[in-house]
Symmetry: C2
Amino acid sequence: MNAEIIAVGSELLLGQIVNTNARFISQQLAEAGIDVYFHTVVGDNPARLKAAIKIAEERANIIIFTGGLGPTKDDLTKETIAKHLGKQLVMDDTALAGIELYFHRTNRIMTENNRKQALIIEGSHVLPNNHGMAPGMLLKKGSRIYILLPGPPKEMEPMFSQYGIKALSAEVGLKEQIVSRVLRFFGIGEAALETEIIDLIDAQSNPTIAPLAGDGEVTLRLTAKHTDEAVGASMLDEVEEKIRQRVGQYIYGYDSSSLLEELTKLLKEKKLTITAAESLTGGMFQQEITSISGASSVFKGGVVCYANEIKQLMLQVKPETLEVHGAVSEQCANELAENAARIFGTDIGISFTGVAGPDELEGKSVGTVYIGIAMKGRPTMVEEIILGGTRAANRTRAVKFGCYFLIKTIRESQNA
Amino acid sequence: MNAEIIAVGSELLLGQIVNTNARFISQQLAEAGIDVYFHTVVGDNPARLKAAIKIAEERANIIIFTGGLGPTKDDLTKETIAKHLGKQLVMDDTALAGIELYFHRTNRIMTENNRKQALIIEGSHVLPNNHGMAPGMLLKKGSRIYILLPGPPKEMEPMFSQYGIKALSAEVGLKEQIVSRVLRFFGIGEAALETEIIDLIDAQSNPTIAPLAGDGEVTLRLTAKHTDEAVGASMLDEVEEKIRQRVGQYIYGYDSSSLLEELTKLLKEKKLTITAAESLTGGMFQQEITSISGASSVFKGGVVCYANEIKQLMLQVKPETLEVHGAVSEQCANELAENAARIFGTDIGISFTGVAGPDELEGKSVGTVYIGIAMKGRPTMVEEIILGGTRAANRTRAVKFGCYFLIKTIRESQNA
C-alpha cells in the first residue's frame, strides 16, 4: 500500500508558490503508516495531467491530487480524472447549497461558473470544505483509491486532516485511530532531553515518542494507535506521565501553544499586571505581549531603554551601577526590573539587558544576557544566560527565556 | 526545450521538509525562458530514482536533480545517474582540495567518506560550491542535459544562480544574458500601480515589467535580455526612468531592500536621532529599529504607552486631550510625537495610536490609525490611515507606513 501525491498548477512550475501541500499530506500519511514513494507536480494541462495519472497508476495504489478544483477555465483536475476513469460529473446538492450560502454570507453575487465547483465525480465520497467552496472527493476504481483536494492550503489542510485521512483509513482498512499530542519544552536542549528519556523512546513502539527541535524550543510528539480513540488517549496519558517524572519541569504546554500564550493566560488567570524595561530586546517582549488581543488587562506600557542615558532618565538606574557594573550586569537588570514595576505601578517588572551582537559590549561577550524579574512579595531575581546565536536569534531567544522564567516564577509563587 | 526538476530525498516524502529547491530553480528557469513541465520528488532509493530518470528522459531535454550528493550512504544520486548513463565516477582534485580546506578551516578531522563528495561523473562540467562541500555538475549525453545540485538550499541557490543557469544557458545556446532589477513601492496598491503604467507593461516585451504584491508592499520586477549585460542594464535604466516619471514618488528602494533599511540608512546618513511613543504597535517599531546592528547611533530608546494612564504619566499627554479627543486621535498622536522627542532629546519623534482590532475603541472603527511625526525645524504632522486587515496585519502595516512617512519627511526636509 503506497501513495503518490500529484499537485496540479502551473504557478508551481513557474516557481510562484511552493508545494507545501505535498509536505502536509506526506506528514499525515507518515503518521498513519502509509508510505509515499513519489510527489509529482504538473501544470494546468489536461494531456500532461493524464500522462502523470497513468504513471502514478503504475506505481501507487493511492493517488492524491491537490489543486484545479476551482471555478476558472484553468481548473481541470476533476474533469480530466473523470474522463480518464470513464465517469460522469454530477451536481452535488449539498455542495451547491454550501456555495450559495457562501455567496449569500459574503454579500456577493454568485456567477454561473461557481456552480461548476459543486460538480463531483459520480460515485465519490464527498469531503466537506469548511473553509472554501470546492468540495473534496474520494473514489475507488479497481484496487486504486483517488482523492481530490483543493489547492489553497487553508482549505486543503483542514479538509484532509478532518475528513480525508479518516475516509482513507476506513477505505484501506486501517482500523486503528491515530491519537497524537505534542509536549512543549523550554530550557532543555534536544540532545539533553533525548539523553534523559532515550530508554523510553527506544522501548516505545505504541505510542511512539518523536523529538523535534526548532526555534529554541524542543517538542515531543506522542502518537498512539488504537481501534478505540479513548484508549489511545489514555495510552498517551500514561507515557506522558513517565516523561513528566523525568523532565516535567521543562514542559510548559501542549500542542500548538507558545510560551507567550501560556504567559498571557497565566497573567490573566492570576490577575497580575506586568511592565518591561527592554535594552537588549528593544521592545520585542512588549510587542509580543501586545500582539495578543485583550493584552490591555495585564499590560499598560513600558520602556525601551537602549542607551544608558535612557536607563538613567526613564528608569532611574543609579549612575554608580552603570559605572561600576555596566549596563550588561546583574545589578543593572535588577534595578531596571524593580524600578519599572514601581514607576508603572504593576505587580511584575521584567528587564532585558545583554549583548545581542555582532560586537561585544563593555568587555562582555556576544550572547551574554541578564533577565531581571521583580514580583510583588518575592525577592527580585536575575537570571544570567549565555546564548550563542546571531543578533536576531539572541534577541528572540532572550524573549523566550523571559517568558519561561516568568511562567516558572508565577507558578512557583502560586504553589508557595 | 523543456526541463524537469527531480528532488531526491526521503525526508521530502516523509513531509519533514518542503521542496523549496524546485521553486527556486523554476523561478530562474522561467526568467531564462525555459519551460518546466514536471517536478518529481523521489526517495533515497536507487531503483525508484532510476525509474524516475527514465520517465523524465521521455518528457524533458533538461533534467535537474537536487539532493543526494552528500557523504552518507543514503546519498546515491550521482552513483545512480553515472550507472544509468554508463559513466565512471572520477576524483576531482579541485573539489577535493576545497573539501580539505573546509575541514582545515573549521578545525575538524576529515573522515574518509567525505572524499566521496569530490567524486564527479566523468566528462562533467563542475559547478563550484561556495557554501558547502559537494560540487555540482552539468553533463550532456545525446540531446539531453543533466544537472546535479546539492540539496541544502543555502548551497544549491547560490550555486545555481551563479554558475548553473549560466552554464545551462551557454549549453542550450541562449546567447542572451538576463539582467533584472526590482523596484520597491509603498503607499500605492497593486491595482492602482498597474493602472498607472498598464500601457508600459503591455508595450514592453524586452525588458518585461512584472508587478508582484505582498505584505503591504508592491514590487515591479524589470527583466531585460541582451547578449551584452551592460546594454541590458541600460535598457533597465530607460524603462525605470519611464516608470519614475509616472509613479516615482512611491518608489522607496531597490531589490531586496526594506523600508526599515532605507530609513536606518537615511537616519545614519543625515545624523538624525529618533524616538518613538507606541500605543497601537506596542513596541514593534522600536523592536525593528533595534534589530539592525549599529542602531544605537540613531536610537536611544522610547516608550510603549499602551494604556491612557501611561500616555499621561510617561509622555505628558494632557488629560483634556484624552477626554475630548480620545487616545485614537490626531491630537493625541501629535502630543505623543512632540513630547517623546522633547523628553528623549531626539531630532525626530514618531507616535503610533489606533485601533488594531478585533474590537473597536472609543467609537473608532478597527483599522483607524494616527501616526505623528515631530521633526526639528518642521511643523509636526499627523497622518491618518485606515487599514482593513487583522490585528497583526494592521500593526505591521502601521509600522511600515510609519517608516514610509519618515523616509518621505526626511527626504523632503533635505530638499527644502
